[in-house]
């Protein structure tokens, strides 16, 4: 029994009455240990969150601020670029889902059947994830050179496919972004799936084999259901992540060509930091709150829905 518990027994009710008591019982040392967390989270996490809510109802230019009620929100909805940003973001998320969700799964399933040099596969798959995003984007920007001499165009030329405009075409730009983004992130997803798959109890496979299941059936009926939790979580996390994509549109195309790759995050950045001389922090926080609200509602609905699936 620790001294803490002893104190509990002697004083079952009521609180410490003196500061000395509190210090004696270790309250001060507890506080000291909690201080870094409290200060850092307080100043750099909790306070800003509160401030974001407040600022969305204000207009501020760093010298003074004034209350403007719902004006910021109204201005955000009145922005002709908002619709495009939302569409573009949705398009990016959808493409990323189509390219980036099933591919890692297939890869992971296949990799889980490997006997020799397992580690090599994982390392190769994960390598793009450790490359700094800025390096990856600048490198791929060069790969996407639309001239026939561009890297990708040259390679596609070897199999007779014509030079493509990549980032210089309004229809091609977003898929090009998604391709690089998938390259950079799919490895992480593969590792997550692999880790989950190693936790499948061997007995389940043994049981399935006793019932005469083929490899395919084993994967479908044993591995997959076991992965369901991971798959569901990864899906919503991916949607939330891609909804906030910023780096690719910013570095590849600055939102172009002709706003074809402007995303919601890019719009927020423009409101707050991209406008030449009249930063609108109010609109920026308003839009970021709207986005957070949307993602929150989406997550809630998602978990409601998937809970009913999981219980089946």
């Amino acid at each position: 029994m620790t001294s803490y518990q002893v104190v509990q027994i002697i004083e079952p009710s009521g609180r410490r009455h003196t500061l000395a008591d509190w210090v004696r019982r270790g309250g001060l040392s507890r506080l000291v240990f909690a201080l870094p967390l409290l200060v850092v989270f307080g100043v750099f996490s909790w306070l800003p969150i509160g401030r974001a809510v407040v600022m969305s109802f204000q207009e501020t230019n760093l010298i003074e601020s004034s209350w403007v009620g719902m004006d910021n929100f109204r201005a955000v909805f009145a922005d002709p670029l908002l619709g495009q940003a939302v569409r573009n973001t949705g398009w990016f998320a959808l493409l990323a889902l189509v390219f980036g969700y099933p591919v890692p799964l297939v890869g992971a399933v296949l990799m889980s059947t490997v006997r020799r040099m397992k580690g090599l596969y994982s390392v190769l798959a994960y390598l793009p994830v450790v490359v700094p995003p800025v390096v990856a984007v600048l490198l791929w920007k060069f790969f996407y050179d639309p001239r026939p001499e561009g890297v990708f165009n040259t390679m596609l030329g070897w199999v007779g496919l014509g030079p493509f405009p990549w980032l210089q075409d309004q229809t091609w730009a977003m898929p090009s972004l998604v391709l690089e983004a998938t390259w950079a992130a799919a490895g992480g997803t593969v590792i997550i799936y692999l880790a989950a798959m190693t936790s499948v109890p061997a007995e389940l496979y043994d049981a399935a084999e006793v019932d005469g299941a083929s490899l395919w059936r084993k994967i479908w009926h044993v591995t997959m259901p076991h992965l369901r939790g991971v798959l569901l979580i990864t899906l919503i996390l991916q949607i939330i992540g891609t909804a906030q994509v910023f780096l690719e549109p910013y570095l590849f195309t600055s939102g172009g060509p002709a706003n074809a790759t402007v995303t919601v995050l890019l719009l927020i950045y423009r409101y707050a930091f991209g406008q030449s001389l009249g930063s609108d922090y109010g609109m920026a926080t308003a839009l970021s709150l709207l986005l957070a609200l949307f993602l929150g509602v989406l997550s809630l609905v998602y978990f409601r829905l998937t809970r009913s699936w999981s219980t089946s």
């Binding site: 609180r15 306070l47 509160g50 407040v54 004034s66 600055s254 172009g256 060509p257 074809a260 001389l277």
Partner: protein, 465 residues
């Protein structure tokens, strides 16, 4: 038993509440407005813009020499050089964060907006005390004046007109005469095609991003007789982005891109990256400020041999050349003593070389000794005669290939000069950016629809002001 958690919960919720309240508190900037008029003997420390970070050591040495000369003449002023790079996106933050020097440089385009926002110091009184206050070129001076007619920023350096830059080596390689650059837009198109066919290199390129595209499209509009904005004289402005000049310019770009395939297909080019492309030999021609040669040499390693400068083709009635430049402004939080010192510095560092022979030679000597370009053609801040006089003073130090720039220098004073749109300049440029990008990235772009849409957007902004 009372919940032992009520206190900590209270503490935590109050943190959130404090966060909410913190957002409520306004931070009135209360500059220490010492209304005391600075005397001659008062010791003042003046922080000034020196050079862009990353500039050559030689350039810094040159600057330090000038600083020493100034401090000798003004023993009561201590200069504190600050490496500084103007970026519109960080200016507001620097202003609030108090990291702006006392004297800094701003582009002509942005002065009016800053003045509107109350972010520049009123230096009218100190300015009027200058002996040559009445000699400034009026258009330039107007750019730094507020609606109240007071001066907030002084024309300082790099006054340029937009001109056409071309690669003489590529011209020669394609069988064209580098001493005979194109003088009409049709000739530009033909030459671009010839170069593309003969060398495989794009004959022409245009900026398209970060508002620089709009800047150049405006220049192209002016050169064809159009205007993008109209001052109605009663405080309101009308957006005229749907004028014929802009349409023609967009059509020109469209044709070069999709019919001739002679345009560099890159919708992300801005002021810096197009210089880079030019230096790397990826385009034979482009338009930009006439003083860009300095940057091409210092930053991109262009050699004099391959560089050619000529006037931007002007056609049609009302055709003009877009001009811009750099102004010197004073931090809005400066007190009177600082302002007085600031004016002295501005006078010495930026303007004296144009008005005083001794200073002109001193400045040119320093630049020449440190291997920096002397004599890049710029437009006069005062009068043409004064400018030519100042060039005579430094004739021995001129090291730029002036004979390859005659296409521009022979007409630069005669070209009709047009300032940038005065209201919502950056937003107008942004709307024009989108048009260029659309034309370059979509073969079937509807130019009419594009200009109409851009016009509506900008008009809404102009009306909102």
């Amino acid at each position: 038993m009372r919940s032992p958690r009520s206190v900590p919960v209270l503490v935590l919720t109050s943190t959130f509440v404090i966060g909410l309240l913190a957002g409520c508190g306004s931070d009135p900037a209360s500059p220490d407005a010492q209304a005391t008029a600075g005397t001659q003997d008062e010791q003042v420390t003046l922080s000034v813009v020196s050079l862009i970070p990353g500039s050559e050591q030689a350039a810094f040495d040159a600057f330090d020499e000038r600083v020493a000369q100034f401090e000798e003449m003004n023993p009561n002023i201590t200069i504190e050089p600050v490496e500084y790079e103007w970026r519109a996106t960080t200016f507001a933050a620097q202003l609030a964060g108090g990291t702006l020097p006392d004297v800094y440089e701003i582009p002509l385009t942005d002065a009016k907006t800053l003045i509107e926002n109350g972010q520049l110091a009123d230096i009218d009184a100190q300015f009027k005390a200058l002996p040559y206050a009445a000699d400034f070129n009026e258009t330039l001076l107007a750019a730094g004046m507020g609606e109240d007619g007071k001066v907030y920023a002084i024309p300082a350096k790099s006054i340029y007109g937009v001109a056409l830059h071309y690669n003489r080596a590529l011209f020669t390689q394609a069988g064209l005469d580098p001493d005979n650059p194109p003088t009409t837009w049709d000739e530009v198109r033909e030459d671009a095609k010839t170069i593309k066919d003969a060398t495989g290199v794009a004959g022409y390129a245009t900026m398209a991003a970060n508002n620089t595209g709009g800047w150049q499209l405006t220049a192209a509009t002016y050169s064809r007789g159009g205007r993008v904005q109209q001052d109605n004289g009663d405080g309101t402005y009308t957006a005229t982005l749907d004028n014929d000049g802009t349409r023609a310019a967009l059509q020109f770009l469209h044709d070069l891109r999709w019919e001739d395939d002679s345009l560099l297909a890159d919708t992300t080019l801005d002021w810096g990256t197009i210089n880079q492309a030019f230096a790397a030999g990826q385009t034979a021609m482009y338009t930009s400020g006439s003083d860009v040669f300095t940057s091409l040499v210092e930053t991109n390693g262009v050699t004099s041999d391959d560089y050619g400068l000529t006037a931007i083709p002007t056609e049609g009635a009302d055709a003009g050349v877009l001009v811009g430049g750099t102004l010197a402004a004073v931090n809005v939080k400066a007190d009177d003593a600082t302002k007085a010192a600031a004016i002295k510095w501005i006078d010495f560092f930026y303007l004296s070389k144009l008005l005083d022979q001794e200073q002109a030679v001193a400045d040119a000597q320093v630049r020449f000794d440190n291997g920096q370009p002397v004599g890049t053609p710029v437009l006069p801040i005062f009068s043409r005669d004064q400018y030519e006089l100042s060039l005579e003073w430094v004739a021995d130090f001129i090291n730029v290939p002036l004979d390859q720039m005659t296409g521009y220098t022979s007409v630069m004073f005669d070209q009709p000069v047009v300032g940038e749109p005065s209201r919502s300049t950056q937003e107008t440029y942004g709307a024009l950016d989108v048009m260029i990008q659309a034309v370059l990235s979509d073969q079937n772009a509807d130019i009419d629809a594009l200009v109409q849409q851009g016009n509506t957007t900008v008009q809404a902004l102009l009306d909102a002001d």
